[in-house]
Amino acid sequence: MKYYCIRFSILVFLIFFAAAPASIAQEATNTTMAVDTLAQAPPDVTPVMAKNVTVRDNPDDGGGSIRIDWDLSVDDHEGGKITAYRVLRSEAGTDDYVVVGDAPAGKSEFVDNAVTDGIEYLYKVAAINELKRNGEVIWSVMSDSDPIGPVKSSAQWFNMQRINVFVGTVFVCLAIFFFIQKAKSGQDLYIRKIAGLESVDEAVGRATEMGRKILFVPGINDMDNVQTIAGVAILGRVAQLAAEYETQIEVPVSRSLVMITAKEIVKESYSKAGRPDAFNEDQVHYITDDQFGYAAAIDGIIVRDKPATIFYMGAFFAESLIMAETGNSIGAIQIAGTGQPSQLPFFVASCDYTLIGEELFAASAYLSREPRLLGSIKGQDVAKAAILISIIIGVILETFSIYQFSNFFRVIGE
């Protein structure tokens, strides 16, 4: 058997090497035939070459790319002699130009993303005029520019196109830092009343009076979403109140990592309320990652268990109304909060209280009344005021055709 296998392997080896040169020869024949079939180009079809070719390292990138610009050829117009521009590259010191790619007629730039940082290159831009029929080139003529370069690519340490975002981020961070420091110094900061958060105690109390459970739904996104983090931060406060009032709280989740986090939070809250023994691991349980499977399970819990209070805090999508309307149908008091603008109208229509966008993110600070957290909310308000003023200035200037101010807020290269 072993002998037979060896013989068979040798046979396969020989057949492969016998066939390989034949296939290579076939390819070569095909290429030659393709060249032979190119027809002679008619006279006066050679285009004028592109002018003022410039090459430079592509700015604001991580390296590995060079940008080539040129002025359009005089033949580049409707019905003109240009069909495309072909960019050719060679390493400096050699004359081995390779085709990097084509830019269609009318375009005057090309970015070569296949270069190695630190190596010097020369470029040529060829204006091409070619006739194709059924995808096959019938004839082709081109006129090259002179070699341009040398140029080498490198990575940058700062993306200047994002300088406006950087300035904005620094401003917002400074405003937040300033008010955090102010709050730490003991200064009293005014935060307006948020009805949805004021009613948390009332909602938990209602569940206690009715002897029914509280349902907390932390959305369908994972812990990498800030909305989920904001949602589970509110869970801590709700769970603590539930533990103090000896009311059952159930947290069905759609992500495993959210389950682990929520379990820790609820457990900690029960400990803070002085009732660690009342905590049951199964209060926080996983259902499914699937959006509508999760919605179906929540609807089932709502219809079967009829919770007195339902919280929806986190990121929600199409399932928001399915759950909130089911909760509404059983007469539960419902408090929702999300940063999804498209879902807010559904929650407003179906729930008793809705935390609109930023109120969800302020909830943790609002409920804990911790000065440093409140300070960050105040800093956020200052940033909002700055944005409002910028919008007003931008609208006035744009009305008078002054665009420089609003252009500063445009992020390029997204």
């Binding site: 939070i265 996983y286 699937d290 109304l321 399915i322 309307e325 940063g339 909002k384």
Partner: protein, 217 residues
């Protein structure tokens, strides 16, 4: 240390995520992808915790004959069925015509579509409540909703043409104006607030001021 280590990891990752947006140079250009890959790996491993939790609770319910324990049997059977068929289907278990594909096409998809279809009925009941003209704001909402709804269907403009309304107040034009200017402005205001809220919350988490998600104040 149970809280300090997650806080340090969060601070480091958060800070790196922040600065990599402004620095295109290696290795910063790759850090976003690396951290995202790590999160996916951790999330994929953690899914077993969720699955085991689901099975534990379902088996407990069946064992104790808890309320509605029949549903738990459906969960257990469905879970085992899909896992076994998925694992025994080889690398091409999701290809067209496989048993897994059959379950997906003829059980999972119709069930999801059914849940999604419920939305139409819930939109109707929610709209009925929201658009009742109880006060000035609700009346304005009702009027706006009327124009948007009638402006989104061809019959709106057809009726306007029959009664010779000026073209500028055709329902489609009024609907577009409401959506682009009134609704657009409101949405943007909310989105600016959300964006600032995200920046503020992220900064609190990175600096370790916000600890509620770790079980602290």
């Amino acid at each position: 240390m149970r809280r300090e280590i997650p806080m340090i990891i969060t601070a480091v990752v958060g800070f790196v995520f922040l600065i990599q947006y402004f620095i295109p140079h290696y290795p910063f250009s790759q850090l976003n992808n690396w951290f995202s890959d790590w999160f996916s790996i951790i999330g994929a491993c953690a899914i077993w915790l969720g699955a085991l939790n689901l099975m534990k609770i379902s088996f407990d319910k069946v064992y104790r004959k808890g309320r509605d324990w029949g549903y738990s049997i459906v969960i257990i059977v469905s879970f085992i069925l899909i896992v076994v068929i998925g694992f025994t289907g080889g690398e091409s278990f999701r290809d067209f015509g496989t048993k897994f594909d059959w379950l997906y096409q003829w059980i999972y998809t119709p069930l999801s579509a059914t849940m999604f279809a419920l939305l139409a009925f819930f939109v109707a009941s929610a709209s009925y409540r929201a658009f009742r003209a109880r006060n000035l704001e609700a009346t304005l909402l009702l009027i706006a909703a009327f124009f948007v709804m009638i402006g989104r269907v061809p019959v709106g403009d057809a009726i306007a043409g029959i009664i010779h309304l000026p073209e500028v107040i055709y329902p489609s034009k009024v609907a577009s104006w409401i959506m682009n200017y009134i609704n657009g402005a409101g949405q943007r205001a909310i989105m600016i607030g959300i964006a600032l809220g995200i920046v503020s919350t992220s900064l609190r988490i990175i600096l370790g001021i916000e600890r509620a998600h770790l079980g602290g104040e």
